[in-house]
Amino acid sequence: MARAQIWLGLGLLVSIIGYLFLDAVGSWAFILTFRATKLAAMLLVGVSLAVATVLFQTITANRILTPSVMGFDALYAFALSSMVFTLGAAGYDAIPQPLLFAANLTLMSGLGLLLFMALLAGGRGDILKMVLTGIVLGILIRSITGFIQRLIDPSDFQTVQVASFARFTFVEPVLLGMAAAVVIPALVLAWRMRFRLDVLALGPEAATGLGEAPKRGQKQALLLICLLVGAATALSGPMSSGFSGPSNFFGLIVTALAHLLIKSERHATLLPAAAMIAGIVLVGGQTLMERVLHLATPLPVVIELVGGALFLFLLLRRRAV
């Protein structure tokens, strides 16, 4: 267990160093500041999504679900499309970045939380029912988004398309700071929940017997998930490829690898492992694509491809479900 973590740490370190120093042309001071900002953004997004996915899988007791199945990405695309539709591309571009970020974050975390709570209350606390209803609602939101997009002026639609992919090409330090202000406290809280999560993972019956009220834990975890995914998506755009379907495979890849490498259900080891793997996949993947292979393909496209295959594999290998 400890050895796997050391390897993960080393892998992350190599990825970071590779990302910062490989293939640098020009002023070091400029390059390092530029790259460090992007690096921080990638790590923030990766760790947020990894931790959110672990929490989500624990409270739903399901290894192939990720928070995006509940339509977080759909909410982002919906917000984006409706803003471009009402304000026009020019109006949308005129919105100050921090304001847009704050609006996106509030919208996604707020609506996500509202959705979770309403579904949880409506389903008498049945978390699977919540997930299923969430999936259907996600489809509804995607359809509405698709409808709005067909109403948008084709030239304005380009704005939507550009903003719909996860992007790490340029990150405003102000936005990075705002995202960190949300993500870091949420991560600290998630870390402090680690032992309670172990108990919750045993199932509602056993958790109650051990004095850990399952519903309270579920609600707290959902709150953290909303904040983490909301902040990550607002910072980078959705990690799944735009409008194509219910797939945030990034979280799935990361948690599946974490379970594979760390042969333990304890969140004290699972959470850091998933976070480190997320860093390696994003930073290492980006380094590989940009610096080594010199490809212009966006990383999410590759993640989708690998994630799709992994998803099928997990589905077919029944044990993992």
Binding site: A61, F195, L202, G203, G209, L210, G211, H259, S264
Partner: protein, 250 residues
């Protein structure tokens, strides 16, 4: 003592329990039996706070269920869960350690480790300590779950049909362990059972439930007879006394 006062319960409008008042004194094994749908599992779930109390009150010693802090209650009352959600990647040793959670809150100390070692020894789980739960037989698995509840170190232990899917050897072994826990360590064990013969053989006291009410309550020898089977279970089975204990001929 577990005291149940005027507890009624309905699920989706259908009444399950009717104004039940019952005292389960400290010590010994108490078996809850009754036909399907009699409300015995519901009553146990209410005591275990798995289901929210709708009316009436239940208290365990001085702690009132629903009002006492969850952690404090978990130090007095353990539940052996019927099933676990995540089982594949949990080792037996880790599972039993989870039983100490109400005490160590995730940071086990030397005392917890001693108790775990004792529990593993007591339930003959030492050779299986590093086995994953999904690599155990049904009987071993139940034993691991009882060991976990035992490690919780509570005075009261509740079990809901733990003999489901167990063969006769595993069933007798498990009941023997519970009997021993009650006798040697003064634990109070409340167990929902399907099989009247197991209840009559291993319990000190039997509470018979029928249609959401307590139909009979007493020592096995006093209440298990032809009349009970006819009136409550609606079947004409014969009851014989063997060594002073009633046995239903099935």
């Amino acid at each position: 003592m577990i005291s149940i006062r005027n507890v009624s319960h309905a699920i989706h409008g259908a009444p399950i329990l009717h104004d039940i008042s019952l005292d389960l004194p400290r010590g010994g094994v108490t078996a809850l039996i009754g036909p399907n749908g009699a409300g015995k599992s519901t009553l146990l779930s209410l005591i275990a706070r798995l289901v929210k109390l709708q009316s009436g009150a239940i208290s365990v010693d001085e702690l009132e269920v629903g009002k006492a802090a969850d952690r404090v209650l978990a130090q007095h009352l353990a539940i052996m869960p019927q099933s676990l959600t995540v089982s594949a990647r949990l080792r037996v040793g880790e599972l039993v350690m989870m039983g100490r959670y109400p005490w160590h809150q995730g940071r086990p100390g030397a005392e917890d480790r001693e108790i775990i070692a004792a529990a593993l020894a007591k339930f003959a789980l030492e050779p299986l300590r590093d086995r994953f739960l999904d690599a155990l037989s049904g009987g071993q698995r139940q034993r691991a779950l009882v060991a976990m509840a035992y490690a919780q170190g509570t005075d009261y232990l509740l079990l809901d049909e733990p003999l489901n899917n167990l063969d006769i050897a595993a069933s007798r072994h498990l009941m023997g362990l519970l009997r021993e826990m009650a006798e040697r360590e003064g634990k109070s064990i409340v167990i929902v059972l399907h099989d009247i013969n197991y209840a009559a053989a291993f319990a000190d006291r039997i509470v018979v439930m029928s249609g959401g009410r307590v139909a009979a309550d007493g020592a096995p020898g006093e209440i298990v007879n032809d009349g009970l089977l006819r009136d409550v279970f609606d079947t004409n089975a014969e009851v014989r006394l063997i060594d002073g204990k009633p046995v239903v001929l099935v």
